[in-house]
Subunit: 324 residues, 2 copies
């Protein structure tokens, strides 16, 4: 992968799963990095290596604290905005969370950029934004979709804000619509839940939906590759890319891989229904032609990604205990 | 037009241009109406007739006051959410205004509905939501557009929130993407500005852009027809309709009509540029096939709408003085 010219990168969500992986990569590539995180879900463990690097500075803070955020961003040449409420499933139990931590937080990031004259932003959006579309694999320019979750609605709001700031204030954006991401430092989601549950009781596994939900997953290092490559190769005002593997698996298949890895044969107890939860997209699979044209391609298959994730969880049992 | 079965309608922005026209119509149609307005741009004059009706109750309040809003909505069976910052042009001079008065306010309305078990919402969205599209006339299911203004981005965020609440909490929505609306009680926009300016100095007129901007306009009574008809005839969970005339005019043409009406021949001073302002859509023209299939069609042409607007302003000179 081509390397970008030296950047002073401000990374929100720097201690998170994707954020910390991105930080490490940016440091390896010779960039200066300011990491910003409120550690609500971020982990010291993830950012420990980075903290030993000379070109890294960690600032503890919240994207909802506009003044602190603005001060922290001083001197940055580009912002990677990864901080978010990524808890897709529980939108309806605390409806304001996505609005605050995603929409309003992104507005704050954009305002802080404006004050600091930072004109470039990379944003982690989501494949869920395609809502109720029945065009699969889904391209970036699919018919205007209807939203199905508060999480996706908040990311849609973020995309709109970013685009309007680009137009109104001469900023430039790279927006990535991500499928679920897997790999080292993965610390929430169905593999995490299944792994933890099977370690406690390998004889049975409760599964949301009917197991037929089909999803695409991407390995975190492939994701970081995909987020960096277009910075040098796609220079429109607003650059939108899908990021996902060119395949998908059913929930049943991924359960099969997990059970095989662990050598267990649980009774599967399906909750039933096409969707895992209210607003779940039962089939997510993205058309990634646009970014592939730039030369990007994922190196790991979904199954490889699942196995890497399990190996990581094996080595970091303490992560399992930390979750509520 | 068919009439809906009796509703207890809660109308936000009830003292505004479209809101007050809708309120009057709902009362004529035999519905009970609670009007909610903070009178930031609403006018007592517009709601004076309604206030004499037995089935109308006016509550002064702000959609940003969640508690008051929730209390005020008690007893409603449907919400018409029209309150908004409708000042499309000045998004970049106060970037937080659209976020607060449109996105957050709409979230508050949805939360108030949830608490009050109100399941139906009618929402006034905008044709500007089609952003940078080059598909004209634009259908509702055009390719996923990129936003160009903070105003449109905030309305996009509102649409997403409404759709997610429909999915998550079993609500039902009618979302109307409106072109600019004209007619009685019109109190801001280019006809207003031109009319006021030409009354002060009929010899010259400053025009934003190059005059070539093409826009579609709809007469306010046609708009209200369009917002009510689908309530009985389109019963999906989320119903999205464009509302506009089947033609458009250039800014130059509408200036011609205004000058003809006033009998003046000003020197036109064009600011230049394709767009009237940053983020302006230089060509707005909607495909309204979807709502026409339900039997709706606008009764007035754009020119007729412009003339009605001028006649109204002639009769209500005090409106001109009230504006800052």
């Amino acid at each position: 992968m081509a390397k970008c010219s030296r950047m002073a990168a401000f990374v929100t969500g720097a201690a998170g799963f994707i954020g910390s992986t991105l930080v490490d990569r940016l440091l390896v590539d010779g960039h200066e990095v300011i990491g910003y995180d409120n550690f609500s879900t971020g982990q010291d463990l993830f950012i420990a290596d980075a903290c030993r690097a000379q070109d890294f500075r960690l600032i503890r803070g919240d994207t909802l604290d506009q003044r602190h955020l603005t001060e922290a961003m001083s001197g940055a040449s580009i912002v990677f905005h990864l901080a978010a409420n990524a808890d897709v499933r529980f939108g309806t139990t605390h409806p304001a969370k996505d609005l605050e931590q995603n929409t309003i937080a992104t507005f704050n990031v954009l305002e802080a950029m404006r004050v600091n004259s930072v004109s470039r932003i990379v944003f982690a959006s989501t494949a869920s934004i395609y809502g109720d579309t029945d065009v699969i694999p889904t391209p970036e320019d699919v018919a205007f979709p209807v939203q199905t979750s508060l999480y996706a609605a908040s990311k849609l709001a973020c995309e709109g804000l970013i685009e309007a700031f680009c137009e109104g204030f001469g900023m430039q954006a790279w927006i990535y619509r991500l499928v679920s991401i897997l790999g080292e430092r993965y610390a929430h989601g169905h593999i995490f839940d299944f792994y933890r549950s099977l370690r406690v009781d390998p004889t049975r596994l409760r599964v949301l939906g009917d197991g037929g939900q089909r999803k695409s997953y991407l390995y975190v290092q492939d994701c970081v590759d995909g987020m960096l490559l277009p910075l040098e190769h796609s220079e429109a005002r607003v650059n939108i890319f899908n990021l996902g593997t060119d395949g998908y698996c059913s929930l049943r298949e991924s359960i099969g891989w997990i059970c095989e890895y662990l050598g267990v044969r649980p009774v599967l107890e399906y909750a039933g229904g096409e969707r895992g939860w209210v607003g779940d997209n039962p089939f997510i699979f993205l058309d990634t032609t646009r970014i592939r044209r730039l030369g990007w391609h994922p190196r790991l298959t979904i199954e490889d990604g699942v196995v890497r994730t399990l190996q990581y969880l094996e080595r970091h049992q303490n992560l399992l205990e930390r979750r509520p």
